[in-house]
């Protein structure tokens, strides 16, 4: 994925701002408050949105980044997936709905509804397009200031994210593409036998056609060979039949010759006696013209006709059922051939495996069913165990107190006592507050008072007061004492005396009156003791005043040190403090007591809430306690059930393994059978049943083929018989027509209408009876004449003799052609011979007909078919092709399956690659100082090899800078593993290098530049060093860019 452009309507400090991103490294440099972190967060928010309902932190962030002075809150982000498909996410966080739209930039289509139709910020577009959930993205791609550290809390999610390569949303694109190539190759270049237009199916279909063709050609060959055998037999039979016919013809001719010679002899005898019988002849003159000679011919023809009619009826009667049976047999043979063609595919199926396969057919479903049942049972138990998992967790949480509810009771009592104490404390607080309020002091005033009066101890105040009292007393004593009065008196007196003295002296000087000088001097001398006394008194007073001043200084110093201007103020303050302090302290104590009690109660509340999962301790009533007790019993019961289920699961797992092993063995045996049978495995049980069905078909094929051969033989015999019968019918019909024609001709000559031959024959019989009567009447002459005429049969004697010569010549010729005929003699009558001759001729004709048919079939031969060898070549070629395609198809299937498994291995066993990547990167970014890294898969704790130490050490033992480096590299490594073969993920780094020295930073920046060559990377920093580093690199401006935020 590559982020292309971000436009923010409003987000934190950003309003109506647009950023175009480079596909590689994007460095954003700016001072504090420039909006770097906001920009980083905005990208995240545009990708994943906010989910206040799901992520507690998001609600705070949602409000944190809400613009203060601008109603718009949201923006749009353009990005392009690695496949080139570009999208735009438009999000608004201004209102509670947090509407989100996704636009396909290629088509402009709004795809928002595709994403579950939810148009809130929770639409998980990024999860689908990036392939990682928000939490994983946050822990690997999104790095904030001081955020680098262990990932143990997200280890499971990240591991799952890396490992689940076959998850449809996170499928490894490389593997998916490879599998697609393999599947396409399998579908286009191999396919399955069940499909209709794939190479394998086409070859298989071709093979089946060839095998059917081969079978047809074999049948044809067999039939033609049979014909060749039959041709020989027919030729031999024809020779025999022809010989028999010739013998009969010779015998018949000989019989006719003998009969004709007898007739000629009789005619010659009767001709002499006939001339005397003329009168009788005249009486029956009307019938004189009746051709008696036709009688024999007509009768013979009539008899022959009757015989042929009977034969025809018999032949037709036999031929029709025979034809029907032959047709029926042909249909049956055709059906059998069709059946053979239908079963042809089973020809090459080996039957040796059938008993085993039949056993497997019974055991395989049972094994699968048992396994599935056990598997379902196991899954059911696992689900039951999983369903009890919360109970187990609850039991673990409660296990410390689960057995002792007294603690809960104690806590409950403590809770009640605490509540009472809090009530008391609140009451005390109210009272102390009331007293405190009477002080009319604010907290500040009391604080100020406390500051001023905190050092005013009673001793100090007493001392100050004592000093003050002393000073006042001394002051008072000074002012009111006799010393002071004496001093004033002496001083006055001395002064007065002095004044007087000086006045007198001055006056004396001025007046030059001497008397006053004495007085003046006396005054002056008198003033002297008074002055001395005054001086002594002054010294005494002064000393006392010093004491007073000292006392007062002491007081003043004390007051000054405490900030009091006067003792009165001190007294006032002290008194006020003495009054306020108890009230305040009582108030504070009450407050502290209340707070302490509240904390204690909160602790109890916490314990109770934690232990009992009650929302508030108030809810922990007796009913609740009973409920908890009940829950505990239920938990104990569930735990017992859980133990029982675990035990059951172990037992069923053992059974599962046994059944799984059994099923695998059966499956292997089944596959072996299918392979031996040349069958492609698609659905094991179905294939096995197909195999059994093919075995059944194979046996049926053998039976049907045997049946077919038998029926074909019967059909051939039946057809021969039918053809013979039909030939006989045709012969009879032909003969009958000839006889009818001859008879009709005879009758027409007599003058009888022959429209109806039966009627004509009746008419003929009537006339003949009349003629007979005529003959009987005419007596002997007529009898003689009739006998003569009958013997002559409308022929003259010469003609008879000529005919006799002809017969003799024919017999001579026959004997000359076949001398063995001369030895042939027959006792049969002429009619019998004639009949036998007809039959013999029929056989000859029949054999000729059969031979003609055979020769026609042999002549046709195999012209319409390819040679069997040619078909066999194609069959072997097709079989080789099928074998080649089968192996290739199996290879493609295996490659496809193993690619899935390999991808699973590859992603699940990612740790060596992660270690390798981390080792390489850490070595590069630390200048080779650290050369070996090992990551714990369970918690992503990293251990590092230090060249000077023998083993690996934990990262916590290294400096913070190295730790940051390692955890940054760990995130790079994990991100690469997550995006390996999938969508590449952008990095969003917010100043993660604060703990780096310049050397490390430089090495790390170089590493980042390498990472940015393959992945988009955003680096937000306030460090000018990075900006300078960027400027010093000769980066391609189209791929990397530096942005300065102001």
């Amino acid at each position: 994925m590559r982020l292309q452009r971000l436009h923010l309507d409003g987000f934190g400090r950003w309003m109506n701002a647009t950023f175009d991103f480079a596909p590689g490294l994007n460095v954003f440099v700016g001072v504090n408050e420039a909006g770097k972190s906001t920009l980083q967060q905005s990208i995240l928010a545009m990708l994943y949105g906010f989910s206040p309902g799901q992520r507690a932190n998001d609600h705070g962030l949602l409000e944190y980044y809400r613009p203060w002075y601008y109603p718009g809150y949201g923006g749009m982000l353009d990005y392009q997936l690695d496949g080139g498909h570009a999208f735009r996410i438009i999000r608004s966080f201004a209102d509670a709905e947090m509407s989100t739209s996704l636009i396909d930039l290629a088509t402009g289509a709004d795809l928002s509804t595709v994403f579950t139709g939810e148009r809130s910020g929770r639409v998980d577009i990024a999860t689908k397009h990036l392939g990682v959930p928000h939490e994983v993205f946050m822990r690997t791609q999104f790095i904030r200031q001081n955020d680098l550290g262990p990932l143990n809390d997200a280890a499971y999610e990240i591991t799952e994210q890396i490992a689940n390569a076959m998850d449809p949303e996170r499928r490894n694109r490389l593997v998916a593409h490879a599998q697609e190539i393999l599947q396409r190759a399998l579908a286009e270049q191999v396919g399955t036998q069940r499909a209709s237009d794939t190479p394998l199916a086409l070859v298989d279909e071709r093979l089946q056609e060839l095998q059917v063709e081969k079978k047809m050609i074999q049948l044809l060959y067999r039939r033609l060979l049979d014909d060749m055998m039959a041709q020989t037999e027919h030729q031999q039979a024809l020779a025999t039949a022809t010989h028999e016919r010739d013998q009969l013809k010779y015998a018949l001719m000989l019989a006719r010759l003998n009969a004709l010679a007898y007739r000629i002899h009789e005619v010659e005898q009767l001709t002499g006696a006939e001339s005397s019988l003329h009168e009788q002849f005249e009486a029956l003159q009307p019938f004189a013209d009746f051709p008696l000679k036709t009688r024999e011919s007509v009768m013979r023809h009539a008899q022959e006709r009757q015989q042929h009619l009977e034969r025809l009826a018999r032949a037709e009667g036999a031929a029709q059922p025979a034809r029907a049976q032959a047709d029926e047999l042909q249909l049956e043979v055709a059906k059998l051939r069709e059946h053979v063609r239908a079963l042809e595919s089973a020809r090459d199926i080996p039957l040796a495996h059938e008993p085993h396969a039949r056993e497997l057919e019974r055991t395989l479903p049972e094994a699968i069913l048992s396994f599935q049942r056990t598997d379902e049972q196991l899954n059911g138990i696992k689900q039951a165990i999983a369903a009890l998992e919360p109970t187990r967790l609850l039991a673990e949480r409660r296990k410390e107190w689960l057995g002792d509810l007294d603690q809960v009771h104690d806590l409950r009592l403590q809770w009640d006592v605490g509540n009472q104490q809090i009530a008391d404390a609140e009451h005390a607080l109210a009272e102390s507050d009331e007293r405190w309020q009477l002080m009319h002091l604010s907290a500040d005033e009391y604080a100020q008072l406390t500051r001023r009066a905190r050092d005013l101890t009673p001793a100090f105040v007493d001392k100050v007061r004592r000093h003050q009292a002393t000073a006042e007393h001394m002051q008072t004593s000074i002012l009111c004492s006799r010393k002071r009065r004496a001093l004033r008196t002496f001083a006055f007196a001395a002064g007065l005396s002095t004044l007087l003295g000086f006045t007198l002296l001055v006056g004396t000087l001025l007046d030059e009156k001497t008397y006053w000088a004495v007085e003046g001097t006396a005054f002056l001398i008198g003033a002297l003791p008074m002055g001395v006394s005054a001086l002594v008194l002054w010294w005494l007073v002064r000393r006392e005043r010093g004491l007073i001043a000292r006392e007062q200084a002491e007081v003043a110093q004390a007051l000054e040190s405490l900030g009091f201007s006067s003792i009165a103020e001190l007294d006032t303050t002290y008194m006020q403090y003495q009054q306020a302090r108890p009230a305040y302290e009582n108030w504070q104590r009450a407050l502290a007591t209340l707070e302490k009690l509240t904390q204690q109660r909160e602790a109890i509340r916490g314990q109770l809430v934690t232990l009992l999962q009650a929302p508030t301790p108030d809810g922990i009533t007796a009913e609740r306690m009973k409920e908890i007790e009940g829950e505990n019993k239920r938990i104990v019961k569930d735990m017992d059930e859980l133990a029982r289920l675990e035990q059951q699961r172990e037992q069923i797992e053992r059974e599962w393994h046994v059944l799984h092993e059994t099923m695998q063995q059966i499956v292997q045996q089944t596959r072996a059978i299918l392979k031996a049978s040349g069958m492609i495995e698609l659905n094991l049980l179905a294939d096995l049943r197909s195999y059994l069905a093919l075995c059944q078909n194979r046996r049926e094929l053998d039976q049907v083929e045997a049946q077919l051969h038998a029926q074909a033989a019967v059909l051939s015999t039946k057809l021969d018989a039918t053809l013979a019968l039909e030939s006989e019918v045709r012969t009879e019909r032909s003969t009958l027509i000839g006889i009818d024609d001859e008879l009709g001709l005879v009758l027409q000559r007599i003058g009888i209408q022959t429209d109806d031959l039966n009627e004509a024959l009746k008419d003929y019989d009537y006339r003949y009876e009349q003629a007979e009567r005529y003959l009987r009447v005419k007596a002997i002459r007529q009898s003689l004449e009739r006998e003569r005429k009958a013997l002559l049969r409308s022929q003259s004697l010469d003609e008879l003799k000529q005919q006799l010569n002809g017969y003799a010549a024919t017999l001579h010729a026959m004997v000359e052609r076949k001398p063995e005929l001369a030895a042939y003699q027959s006792d049969q009558s002429e009619e019998a011979l004639q009949s036998a001759l007809g039959e013999a001729q029929g056989r000859v004709d029949n054999l000729h007909s059969n031979l003609t048919a055979i020769e026609r079939r042999l002549e046709q031969g195999t012209k319409d078919y390819r040679s069997l060898a040619e078909v066999q070549e194609d069959i072997v070629c097709a079989q080789e092709r099928i074998r080649h395609l089968s192996i290739a198809g199996r290879g493609l299937q295996i490659a496809c399956e193993q690619l899935s498994a390999a991808a699973d291995d590859y992603h699940r066993n990612f740790l060596p690659r992660l270690n390798q990547m981390l080792t390489s990167d850490l070595e590069a970014s630390t200048g080779g100082q650290y050369s070996h890294v090992q990551v714990d898969r369970a918690n992503f704790r990293v251990r590092v090899g230090v060249p000077t130490l023998p083993g690996l050490i934990a990262t916590e033992q290294l400096s913070q800078g190295v730790q940051d480096q390692i955890y940054l590299l760990l995130r790079f490594g994990l991100a690469e593993l997550i995006s390996d073969g999938r969508e590449s993920l952008p990095f969003l780094l917010d100043d993660p290098f604060v703990n780096y020295d310049h050397v490390r930073l430089l090495l790390t920046l170089n590493l980042i530049a390498r990472v940015a060559e393959r992945t988009q990377l955003f680096l937000f920093t306030k460090d000018d060093f990075i900006a300078r580093w960027f400027g010093e690199q000769s980066f391609d401006a189209a791929r990397h860019q530096l942005n300065v935020l102001t």
Binding site: L182, L225, K675, L868, Q872, Q898, P912
Partner: protein
């Protein structure tokens, strides 16, 4: 009195050229060539005015023989009448009740041995021919053990079988004997069939003679394909071999690793073609050998079509070994490495379940998978 016999064997009429002998464009012509070869042999017999023609079995392929062929044989033998034609059926044309031999009414000059034991006919007063018929394709009986020719005539044996010194996998089946057996049985000459290349044992004054198939039937029959003229001069038999074949099968083995381009291979093949006899029709087989990497750019199909342009009667067999460095691959921490490890782990399992097909399956699966991982189109 002299006596001349023209002997041939193993004509294999209607033979299907399957498997490694399959060259589709010429199969039918080669089958026609077998018939033409028989015509030439009979014409040669007429020219040489031989006294008898003997056929030492495998005249046709019983499984594929057509009635046309049967009629052709009948017509051919009828034309050569009255010269006797004596046939000793072999394993490919055994004498059975439904065989062509039994179904056809042969001309009188044709005599077929029908018994699965030694029987004899007298060719004239002096020469007696003994023969035996296979009654099934699996016939393997030892027939000469303790056999002695009963009469003091010139006895010639006609049979289909293998002399012990020639036993090898293609000719392991059938009846076997040794030249010593022939000698002990007092046969002066044994005219045999079954071995498809000319052999005379011993080479001088031979006692046992195999003419070989008159036309080559496969690429593995690189030897003489003759008919024999055996002549009795009242003292001994002399045997002369005659080459009547019109076809030649040649194999050109090409190691592609020795050539840099497909054109070089074609040039090499062209020179090989030019070195062959021009008076016979040529059927070529090119065997491509060598080792290629699985991602080698050499297109075997393209090379095959280029070679086919040089000779239409060509069969190209791809025996190239596709090389994949599995051992190096399995240590890679890549998807390829993971895939190779997976396949290697499964290989032994397949060998147990699929037997000999396991290795080609493994090779293909590895090659297909690696090609697909590299995004290349997979070709079978």
């Amino acid at each position: 009195m002299t006596f001349k016999i023209l002997h041939l064997a193993d004509l294999h009429l209607d033979h299907p050229f399957c498997g490694s002998d399959y060259v589709p464009s010429v199969s039918r012509a080669r089958r026609d060539g077998l018939r033409q070869c028989l015509e030439r042999a009979l014409a040669q017999a007429r020219t040489l005015q031989v006294d008898a023609i003997t056929i030492g079995g495998d005249l046709y392929e019983a499984e594929f023989v057509s009635p046309d062929t049967a009629q052709f044989l009948r017509a051919m033998f009828q034309q050569i009448a009255p010269t006797p034609v004596i046939i000793a059926p072999g394993d490919h044309d055994p004498y059975t009740s439904d065989s062509v031999y039994a179904c056809i009414e042969w001309p009188p000059n044709v005599f077929i041995f029908r018994e699965p034991r030694l029987t004899s006919i007298n060719l004239n007063d002096e020469v007696q021919l003994w023969g035996i018929a296979y009654d099934s394709p699996e016939f393997g009986r030892v027939v000469l053990n303790k056999f002695r020719v009963p009469q003091a005539q010139t006895a010639v044996l006609l049979m289909h079988g293998t002399e012990n010194s020639l036993r090898s996998p293609p000719y392991a089946a059938g009846s076997t004997f040794s030249a010593g057996d022939i000698h002990r049985a007092d046969f002066q000459l044994a005219l045999c069939g079954h071995v498809h290349m000319t052999h005379q044992i011993p080479a001088m004054n031979p006692l046992v003679c195999f003419p070989g198939s008159p036309e080559p039937l496969g690429f593995d029959e690189d030897g003489g394909h003759m008919v024999l003229l055996a002549e009795w001069d009242e003292r001994r038999w002399s045997v002369e071999a005659m080459d009547l074949s019109q076809w030649q099968c040649r194999t050109c083995s090409v190691d592609v690793n020795a050539f840099s381009t497909a054109a070089d291979v074609v040039e090499y093949f062209r020179r090989f073609l030019n070195a062959q006899r021009k008076d016979k029709q040529l059927v070529m087989r090119v065997i491509l050998r060598g080792t290629l990497n699985y991602d080698s750019p050499l297109e075997v199909n393209e090379l095959t079509s280029l070679l086919a342009q040089e000779s239409p009667a060509l069969r190209v067999e791809n025996h190239l070994q596709v090389q994949v460095a599995v051992e190096g691959l399995k240590d890679e921490l890549t998807m390829r490495g993971s895939f190779a490890r997976r396949l290697l782990a499964k290989q032994s399992e397949w060998q147990q379940s699929d037997g000999t097909a396991a290795q080609p399956m493994f090779d293909r699966a590895l090659r297909f998978g690696l090609s697909a991982l590299e995004g290349r189109k997979v070709t079978l």
